[in-house]
Symmetry: C3
Subunit: 164 residues, 3 copies
């Protein structure tokens, strides 16, 4: 096997692994809905230990990924920002990825939809379109996100039709 062929296989494995890490973020969000807040089950294998995030565009965390988890899901003392919703989904588009040795960058469109909790007001779908802009690093356990910046295109509550 030539050096070039070895590099081709390395590139292909890297691309699949990077896609999997990006997908694991959403799996963390979406396989833990409502009262189940255990997103770290996936996120501890998504982010590097020292990973930083910038969700300021959505009024959210600038800090570690565990602070992001706490902001979203709350802790024993404080409800999280996701508490405004009962269910959600974080759809991902096709990532744009660039690899340079043991680091990589990626930009992936997301379409996040949320159903508001039943309360006094009629429920809505809160739909947010944006992109995750990531820097990744190769670790002994595979690729991990070490910096994620959320870009927000737009977000609004959409009205649910009254069925007659």
């Amino acid at each position: 096997m030539t050096h070039s062929q070895h590099q081709d296989i390395r590139f292909l494995l890297d691309r699949i692994d990077i896609q999997d890490v990006i997908a694991r973020y959403s799996l963390g969000q979406d396989s833990h809905q409502g009262e189940d807040g255990n997103i770290l089950e996936q996120w501890d294998k998504t982010f590097s230990l020292d990973a930083q995030v910038d969700y300021s565009a959505a009024g959210g965390t600038v800090g570690s990924y565990r602070e992001l988890a706490r902001w979203m899901r709350g802790d024993a003392n404080t409800p999280g920002s996701m508490g405004a919703f009962s269910h959600w989904q974080h759809m991902l588009g096709l990532p744009n990825v660039s690899i340079t040795g043991d680091t990589a960058s990626a930009r992936t469109d997301f379409y996040a939809t949320h159903r508001s909790r039943n309360g006094d007001a009629p429920p809505v779908h809160f739909n947010a379109a944006g992109a995750f802009v990531d820097e990744l690093i190769r670790t002994g356990d595979g690729w991990r996100i070490r910096h994620r910046r959320l870009v927000l295109y737009f977000a609004d509550p959409l009205q649910i039709a009254v069925q007659v």
Copy 2:
């Protein structure tokens, strides 16, 4: 070529093929809209012959994939459940895949949107967010889904704005 490199190529081919099988399900739905009910053109190459599905979360089929097709699209005697809509789309996110020899499991977010038929009521977009949880098997014709369970996060009709 080392054993390891052979395995790497096998893994990569498997991953692409599994993604293609999952994509083919939506192609079956979305390339046959309205009165065109021929989704088996794709689904016969998507599911194994003995595949079982569980769409109970959406009030649908627990049974074979051909029973699922009949429930959705109807037959000569009975209209299908999709008859409430004129058009639809089954968007897929990035699959989370795990392969063990000749079997695999996958979980893929879907965002299914539907436009209700023009009738007495104003049309709506019926939008459903969920996930396909699949068990797959390697066959002589490639990977096939042999069990699919539909997970539903939420689904509601969204109101179309009146243009003035």
Copy 3:
């Protein structure tokens, strides 16, 4: 390395490259929002020089990809059709791809969402579901789209809920 293994690696690299080209189209749209109309930064690496598009299903361009860019984004003299919106996103599903030597075909579902500009009327989300049907060609710079036909399933303005 056997001929077959060489072909496997070629196939895998082709599939990733074709996915990247399809993703680059949306990156062109979505990384240039509002007044930033420079989508050719990505599209010149997405389409072949002689590429033709057929967006007639959306009332759009039948012609070159640069004419499509002008129709959407306008030029010094004329506003583009995207001027009706302030922000947008072009989500992509999993592509269905078939490669034959140096040509390929692909069909990829898209879910395009747009926020209308604030004007006299309340803003809406204009959501369009459809598919890109592509013919691609292998060039010295990688795969490029040489023909794209837009298929439209449905498109409507969705009402934003009034928050009280």
